[in-house]
């Protein structure tokens, strides 16, 4: 630790220190930006690769780093920004506002389709965000509560999607029959995966779940006679509203005809929006309820100390399996929804990057925190859409934001844990004390 942090030094020394610090930061930035930004290969006129130099862009970025670091150090001192897992001033405020924040989010979500200015694009974005919120909440059971690092969560999403698509294609079953079936099948696969991997811990568990996710995708890709392989399955039936279809004809037996509305394609989007909202809220409700009950407490205890759990008579195997199965089930529900929304699925939608995004949502949001996961999904999925105008710089903004969050708040946006029960007032528990699980 430098003297700057211990006592306010003479102004000259402080500026000097800040300058030195900013120069080091700029040097690091230059090492990174010269190859990544300044040098760019484009396909030239003759079809050959041509090297293009973008020195100004790189210089601007380095200058930004220099200025930013200089101001930061001058303003806060060298060690001003410390990583913390405890509740910062804004988290405490958020928690105080939490009583209103969560209902406020819910009200906005419920009223989104009727808010003026909300169009089909916003609704579609809302559906996308809510799908990831639901997947994040589902994975949160496995990773956040039970502490089992699952890198292949997308497999259950795929199982759910293909369950609905195949059952509809081969047996003509409706969405409402297939939705629970998709969940059950995904849970079944969760248990199937759970059995062999339960004796693995930590990194080994992560590798096996990763492999499982890939196996499912490769099977879907190569079992052409059943799944259509890389061509996927198209023409997946759309869900109906209590037997009323959303057809554009507006006749008898359609949604518009029954309610005497002008046929519009927005009706179906609104319906899908409320459907995924209901599914996501179901996931949330079940998780919140279970957390306050023996099963949920056992999951958290398992994350904290598996050996102590065994000494207290908790069956570690079935407890882990239940977490795997429940998480997988919600993944399956989300998958069935995804299939019916897209009306077309192919193995391409279930690559590893999906698992990584869902895991990133859970980790950024804060392991085990429901509201944190929802905010992280909104920021990660909604944010990337928002910055679409930035084109190729979008990923830089995205990556930078992720690095910043992880540096400053290594345990996610909401790094604290709320006790499931208390004799007096519930006080948030510092993230440093809470275990991360070892698989």
């Amino acid at each position: 630790m430098s003297a700057a942090a211990l006592a306010p030094p003479r102004p000259a020394g402080r500026v000097q220190l800040a300058l030195k610090d900013a120069l080091i930061a700029t040097a690091v930035a230059a090492i990174l930006f010269v190859p990544m930004v300044a040098l760019r290969t484009d396909v030239g006129t003759a079809g050959a690769l041509a090297l293009r130099y973008r020195w100004t862009d790189a210089a601007i970025l380095c200058g930004l780093v220099f200025l930013g670091r200089l101001l930061l150090v001058l303003w806060t001192g060298r060690r001003g920004l410390q990583p913390t897992t405890s509740a910062g001033p804004w988290t405490r405020r958020l928690q105080q506002a939490g009583r209103f924040a969560a209902p406020a989010f819910l009200i906005v979500a419920l009223l989104l389709p009727v808010i003026p200015g909300v169009d089909r694009y916003e609704l579609d974005l809302g559906i996308l965000v809510l799908t990831y919120v639901m997947l994040g909440w589902g994975l949160n059971i496995v990773v956040g509560l039970a502490g089992l690092l699952d890198l292949g969560y997308v497999a259950f999403y795929a199982v759910g999607a293909y369950s609905y698509a195949l059952l509809a294609q081969y047996f003509g079953l409706s969405f409402w029959v297939c939705l629970p079936l998709a969940g059950i099948l995904a849970a079944f696969w969760g248990i199937l995966l759970g059995f062999p991997v339960l004796r693995l811990r930590g990194d080994y568990l992560a590798i096996v779940t990763l492999a499982f996710g890939e196996i499912i995708r490769v099977v879907l890709l190569n079992w052409v006679s059943l799944t259509g392989g890389p061509n996927g399955i198209s023409g997946i039936p759309r869900p109906s509203f209590f037997g009323l279809s959303f057809s554009m004809s507006g006749g008898e037996g359609t949604f518009a005809g029954f309610f005497g509305l002008e046929p519009s394609s927005v009706h179906r989007v609104i319906f899908l929006y409320y459907l995924i909202l209901a599914l996501a809220l179901l996931t949330n409700w079940v998780t919140i309820r279970l957390r306050r009950q023996p099963l949920g407490r056992a999951w958290e205890a398992l994350r904290e100390d598996e050996i102590a759990c065994r000494a207290l008579g908790i069956n570690v195997t079935t407890t882990k399996l239940s977490a795997f199965a429940l998480g997988a089930m919600f993944g399956g529900f989300a998958g069935a929804f995804f299939a019916t929304r897209q009306a077309f699925i192919s193995p391409e939608s279930f690559t590893f990057i999906e698992s990584a995004i869902i895991l990133a949502i859970v980790v950024l949001g804060g392991l085990g925190s429901q509201i944190g996961v929802a905010i992280a999904a909104l920021v990660l999925i909604g944010g990337t859409e928002l910055f679409r105008d930035l084109q190729e710089w979008r990923m830089l903004v995205f990556g930078g934001a992720m690095v910043l969050i992880m540096v400053l708040r290594p345990r996610g946006l909401v790094g604290t844990r709320t006790p499931s029960i208390a004799l007096g007032k519930r006080r948030a528990i510092d993230g440093n004390l809470v275990g991360e699980g070892h698989g």
């Binding site: 958290e300 904290e304 102590a308 908790i314 069956n315 006790p419 029960i421 007032k425 528990i429």
Partner: protein, 284 residues
């Protein structure tokens, strides 16, 4: 415990009354190393049995066999819980041992640090609570007798929090408690499983004299309530004061078994602890 008073002065090495725990010919090998070799002893019902010995004598290994963390290479560990047929613990899977009525604490404390003291005690009552929820499904739907069961569990947790003098720390995370309180909380947690036999692995380690005294009183209270205790301990002051019976291990072999007074005068025990004639003993 009027029966315990004459017992303490008795000279007979084997006590009357049924034992709670019977260990016969227990052997534990790790590859070529025999950590525990043909140890037989019995822990009396309603008594405090201390297991002592120098470092590396095999105490914790024996402990881990009794509490189901190791499967012994050979031998029988039988639990005689009153009112139920004897259970052979070495055949049970790890998590069944606690349900059979044996609870334990750990040498290096193993609480759930990120959960409150109260939550720690509720997890200890997982079995009965889980049964009350209809295995999780009923409680989610709100269709079970779970609220009543939880109230009961909280009452039991409060009772043990009071007994261990931790009531005002009930809502604090276990990891934030001072060391001595963590030790006590771990005992409270073990007691919440309603064991017939409580196994303590060095409960007085790292405690100051005052805390050791409190611990001794707590253990005697637990014995008064009818729970038998098996403890490993290095603090001879505590061992000699509260134990009804002392079992001494050295190099994985049982070398003495009797009242504290008997054991204190035993030549082999003195030799094992002071390292006297170590060369001669080890030579053959």
């Amino acid at each position: 415990m009027s029966a315990a008073a004459p017992d303490r002065t008795a000279v007979r090495p084997v006590r009357p009354g049924p034992p709670i725990l019977e260990v016969q010919g227990l052997t534990m090998r790790f590859g070529g190393l025999t950590a525990v070799s043909k140890v037989s002893f019995a822990a009396g019902s309603g008594q405090i049995t201390a297991l002592i010995g120098p470092n590396g004598a095999g105490k914790t290994t024996l402990f881990n066999c009794v509490t189901g963390f190791y499967r012994p290479s050979d031998g029988i560990i039988r639990l005689h819980k009153p009112g139920v047929p004897p259970t052979e613990l070495q055949r049970l899977p790890g998590h069944r041992i606690a349900r059979a009525g044996v609870a334990r604490t750990f040498q290096n404390i193993r609480l759930f640090p990120g959960m409150t003291a109260l939550e720690n005690l509720l997890i200890a009552q997982h079995g009965p609570l889980m049964a009350a929820t209809g295995w999780g499904i009923g409680a989610v739907l709100g269709l079970s007798r779970y609220p009543a069961a939880e109230r009961l569990a909280i009452e039991r947790a409060k009772r043990w929090l009071t007994a261990t003098n931790l009531m005002e720390r009930a809502d604090d995370p276990a990891g934030a408690l001072p060391y001595g309180q963590q030790r006590r909380l771990e005992i409270a947690r073990a007691m919440c499983t309603e064991p017939a036999l409580l196994c303590l692995d060095e409960p007085a380690a790292g405690l100051n004299p005052r805390e050791s005294d409190e611990l001794a009183r707590l253990l005697l209270d637990i014995r008064e309530e009818g729970t038998s205790i098996l403890l490993i301990e290095h603090d001879m002051g505590v061992v000699m004061r509260i134990s009804d019976r002392v079992v001494v291990l050295d190099h994985g072999v049982l070398i003495a078994d009797g009242t504290p007074a008997e054991v204190r005068g035993n030549a082999k025990v003195i030799a094992a602890y002071l390292g006297e004639d170590e060369e001669e003993v080890a030579a053959p």
